[in-house]
């Protein structure tokens, strides 16, 4: 294990996140001779798609599928490249001067970087339904993470609900692992097909087409699927039932575990706190960083690669990581030999081709993004949708003002689970666009650090002198 004390005070390139984007970027840059460090807060590399790729207890390769195991090569490549890979390393601050605040093993360090690649990936979109804070309600991604990293498979009465390719992937992986699923509640609005159809030809050519169809077939053969328009998790101390309605009226199913998924969105916190400009993407219904062709952001020297740059999937994430790394190498070591960007861009384009279809098809219905009444919008501070709506009606124009009125977004998750909801609710009430309303202005530390960690920052030169005087 690498400790905080083993870190140098500066590196030419700091990469934050060890998913496909970060791993591919690290391998490329280090091989080109750039001094590179990669920080990832998880115990092992792989990111979300290749979670626990070097340590998974799931021995039967069919369970997680070949796409998962493809990640092993990336991890090996990064390891062999000479990049310093530090796991259990949480980056809690990044500023426009590219000073990186990181904690490893309870000790904090500030690291200077000439270039930074943010590869912090995506997170699942908030899915605020009544009862979504009850124990026994988790995200589908959480169940998948438990399967990949710890070999835990769902047990008891399990219902999966939502929309998007990942939901079906998890269902298939669960079934292959011997788990049972009582039902899948599909929230995909029917009318989404109208928009999506335009993009079907592109999708049909993309690698996701055949895979997606096969998954659907595999899961539908074993699990009843219901189309639903409303959904509620019911229970007192934990979830006991899921109540849903669709064309067939209202139904209730007893559950031990309800797994929610509504697609993934970029994890914007670190980039936002560093001052990177973001814009609203109406197709993906989320904020994405403003980037140039090399994934360089509005802050000089800081790039955002992978799904953090806008959702495009794991293979695309790796290609984006390579493009960002090549730009960093060119800036730092103009004479170094780097791979041909043209070929990489072509592969990236192929990967991105089917995206429009998936985005339009899986665009969640308004009612699943902009809840009403007592449904909790901010899980940390337990702020309801009604409170946010009422405060917006009263004249509150943006999420930063909303923080001061309701404390939403001020809890430990720093808006990760309410940011998009609050922005969209304000926009709806004030009859304007999410872009106008904007997002929370995020403050470091983007991950809480203990006072002890902060106190452990090495005493700076200037401070030492002040004491000696």
């Amino acid at each position: 294990m690498i400790a905080a004390a083993d870190l140098a005070s500066s590196y030419e390139l700091v990469i934050i996140g060890g998913g496909p984007a970060g791993l591919a970027a690290a391998a490329l840059a280090a091989r080109a001779g750039v001094s590179t460090v990669l920080f990832d807060e998880n115990p092992g590399v792989g990111g979300q798609i290749y979670r626990a790729i070097t340590s998974t207890p799931v021995a039967d390769r069919a369970v997680l599928g070949q796409d998962y195991w493809d990640g092993a090569a990336l991890a090996d490549e990064a390891k062999a490249s000479g990049a310093l890979i530090v796991n259990g390393a949480t980056v809690w601050s990044l500023d426009r001067q590219r000073l990186v605040g990181v904690s490893v093993g309870g000790k904090a360090r500030m690291i200077e970087a000439d270039r930074v690649i943010i590869a912090t990936g995506s997170q699942e979109r908030p899915f605020p339904i009544p009862g979504w804070t009850l124990p026994g309600v988790m995200t589908a991604g959480a169940a998948q993470t438990a399967l990949k990293a710890q070999g835990l498979v769902v047990d008891g009465r399990t219902v999966m609900a939502g929309s998007g390719p990942l939901l079906w992937l998890l269902a298939a992986q669960t079934l292959r692992a011997g788990g049972t699923i009582d039902a899948i509640l599909d929230t995909t609005p029917r009318r989404n097909w109208l928009q999506a159809m335009f993009h079907l030809p592109d999708f049909a050519l993309s690698p996701y087409f055949a895979k997606g169809l096969a998954l659907l077939r595999e899961v539908r053969a074993k699990v009843p699927v219901h189309r639903v328009d409303t959904m509620e998790a019911v229970g007192n101390d934990r979830v006991r039932e899921v109540v849903f309605s669709g064309a067939g009226g209202t139904r209730r199913l007893p559950v031990d575990l309800l797994l929610l998924h509504q697609g993934v969105v970029p994890n914007v916190n670190l980039a936002n706190a560093a001052g990177v400009a973001h814009v609203w993407n109406d197709r993906q219904l989320c904020f994405v960083p403003v980037l140039d062709a090399d994934f360089g952001s509005s802050v000089p020297g800081i790039a955002v690669a992978g799904d953090g740059a806008g959702i495009a999937g794991g293979t695309a994430a790796a290609e984006r990581g390579r493009i960002a790394a090549i730009a960093a190498v060119r800036a730092l070591k103009p004479d170094a030999v780097v791979p041909d960007t043209q070929a990489i861009r072509q592969r990236l384009q192929r990967e991105e081709m089917g995206r429009a279809f998936l985005d339009w098809l899986n665009r969640p219905a308004d009612s699943f993004r902009m809840p009403e009444g007592d449904t909790i919008a901010c899980r940390c501070e337990e702020v309801t949708a009604k409170q946010v709506r009422d405060t917006a009606k009263m004249g509150c124009e943006g999420p930063n003002q909303m923080k001061a009125f309701l404390r939403c977004g001020m809890g430990p998750c720093q808006g990760r689970l309410c940011g998009l909801t609050v922005t969209e609710l304000i926009a709806a009430e004030r009859k304007t666009s999410p872009d106008e309303v904007g997002y929370y202005r995020l403050r470091p530390p983007v991950k809480p650090i203990t006072l002890a960690e902060l106190a452990s920052l090495p005493i700076s030169e200037a401070e030492r002198k002040a004491v000696e005087r």
Binding site: Q123, A146, A149, V153, E382
Partner: protein, 97 residues
Amino acid sequence: MFKRLAEKGPAIAITVDGRKVTARVGDTVAAALLAAGIDHCRTTPVTGAPRAPYCLMGVCFDCLVTVDGVGSRQGCLIPVREGMKVETQLGRREAGR
């Protein structure tokens, strides 16, 4: 809620609120709790409602527990260690006047 695919790998003994729990190498604190059928790990500081791990990827902070005396640690990011003392958190008692 969850079962292990195979009871493989070396066992690791931890305690949760004083109770003995057997975890496995590769478990995070949150995963060990879920595998042991412990279905909530804290109550919220605002209303005292029970919460359990939600995302298992470090974004929701519902898995906050006290680990070896240090409060509010993200259980889903911390690997278990032999002898680790985990305590569930009572949010409401701890905050406010």
